[in-house]
Symmetry: C2
């Protein structure tokens, strides 16, 4: 095989109550990466499209290039690789754009080499891509992009990533108002210390959300998607947050929050029509306020990244391991 | 029916990571209450045994009397009731002694009156018993004592109590070293504010524990039973905590922590023999140090409180509602 192509989806990190521990994969949008064997031993970014020229072509500074480099080094491969990135989602939107690029690149290159590693084993390299993109090797976007579904990052030391059961159909609307929020500004808003009552409420909600997903209890799920810690501060970075929330709920969505560190907004619903209606009314609200806003609706994507058959264009499901436990790099 | 008898079990609140949100019921020990119809409309405590004379006979100051009084008032009953309390567990031990008395009394009196309320509906009155016993109407002992199993108190306003699935056999050892810790002293040790990193770790653990219970994943369960918030401070109130932990783990238990606010210590195991061995070695350790120590082993009790047939002495399972949602008193 001389070239292969992979897709990795957008992801919603945090999901309100699970700040820094939950992430959820969508079906769309997402990035595609084509990987090709090349002479020599370098990783090169041949082209990036869909980024308005904002992403570096220097592989050492590009999240996909960094992830593939550390992967090849870890498995002791001297294979040269050329990557073409097709960005199909907005950058800096809180939808896991850098994660999707790194994951799609890793899945493509892993396949190119005959899948020497499992999906779970690719995770630490995707996290290195995140470190290069935003300074911290967080997993709450890369893990769901790679493994699919609703993922819990229980711990980083050691890395303990659990793909949660999702016992019911679950749909997500996503709206991306064209507002710039830098992750580091959103992080800077967070307090160093959480008042005990809020911390207790938050761990009640994370526990409730997992119980709801495992038992298929929509009511409990929607009651549990409440953020007592980050959202009360971060929503101030997003104009018209309260009206957007109200509009989405009125359209039939039953939970609403900030995707990652924003500005994208996610909403959860029992059916696709409600998710689509919620995302559309939020976009319409911003349009009325002369703020551009893209929007999507999607079922929660239980498969995660996919290898795309370059011959037929058919996708191959590529679901990762359940309840994988990885010491960072320890199994390599 | 002129008299009836009920049993309510000891409970482990917090279960390490779920400070103020988790509680778990044991099979033994537990309290029994005999309730008898009486002339007039008063609630009276006729006798208390097993308390070394420490509990008040004044029904207005006794947790069982208080719980039954607010229950009768709420349902508009003028029935007089006489209670006999048989304490079969230590007071002030962190094993939910006051909760067991209040719950056994409520279940007995509810049956005496022909079960006008469901198990879930009794919860707010048991919480009033807790308020009289320790100043706060907490539910993390009364809810599992009443409903059985492993219970999540997701929220107090509104009250949202979820009985979690427990997909595997789970056993608990319990040791009660004869050390006095007052709940208010244990509470006073807690910080007002939790460092963000610890808060994130704690909600990762509560989420992990629920996922483990739902999927029957022992490894994840035992990894998740870690308290980053209360135990690091409270363990200093319990001499030889570290040695006790080490002994229990060496005996085959796989998780260890403080039951409620202590001094009782709980340990979790995959089988009864390991739970029993763990509890016994902890008791032996304290005995060597000339500290008395009672101990028990038990399967996690999925049934909760039980009405005891006063004719045959047979217990009747009395499992409560799943995923009950109660506004405090709102359904009455």
């Amino acid at each position: 095989m001389n070239e292969t192509r992979a897709f990795a989806p957008a992801t919603v990190a945090n999901v309100s109550c699970g700040f820094d521990v939950f992430g959820m994969a969508l079906e769309a949008p997402g990035d595609e990466v084509l990987a090709r064997r090349a002479e020599g031993s370098l990783v090169r970014i041949r082209s990036v499209s869909g980024d308005d020229g904002r992403l570096p072509l220097d592989a050492k500074r590009n999240t996909a290039g960094v992830a593939v480099r550390v992967f090849l080094d870890a498995i002791g491969s001297r294979q040269g690789v050329e990557l073409e990135l097709y960005k199909r989602m907005p950058l800096g939107s809180g939808m896991g754009s850098s994660a999707a690029s790194a994951v799609a690149a890793l899945v493509a290159v892993n396949r190119l080499l005959g899948d020497p590693l499992s999906r779970s084993e690719l995770l630490p390299f995707a996290m290195e891509g995140e470190r290069s993109a935003c300074g911290s090797a967080h997993a709450d976007n890369v893990a769901p992009a790679l493994l699919g579904g609703f993922v819990l990052i229980r711990s980083y030391r050691p890395l303990d990533v659990i793909k949660l059961p999702v016992a019911m159909p679950l749909f997500c609307g996503l709206a991306h108002p064209h507002i710039e929020i830098r992750t580091r500004d959103a992080r800077a808003l967070l307090p160093d210390c959480v008042p005990m009552a809020d911390a207790v409420g938050q761990w009640g909600n994370t526990a409730g959300l997992v119980a709801a997903l495992c038992t298929g209890d929509y009511g409990l799920l929607f009651r549990s998607v409440q953020d007592l810690v980050a959202e009360p501060l971060r929503k101030n970075l997003i104009p018209h947050f309260a009206e957007a929330r109200e509009a989405a709920l009125a359209a039939g969505c039953e939970a609403f929050g900030i995707s990652g560190s924003g500005p994208s907004l996610f909403m959860l619903a029992r059916d696709r029509a409600a998710a689509a209606a919620g995302a559309a009314v939020v976009a319409a609200l911003y349009a009325k306020l002369e703020v551009g806003c893209d929007y999507w609706d999607s079922r929660v994507n239980m498969e995660g990244a996919q290898v795309l058959d370059t011959e037929s264009g058919q996708a191959e499901s590529a679901s990762g391991g359940l309840n994988c436990v990885l010491e960072n790099g320890a199994r390599l």
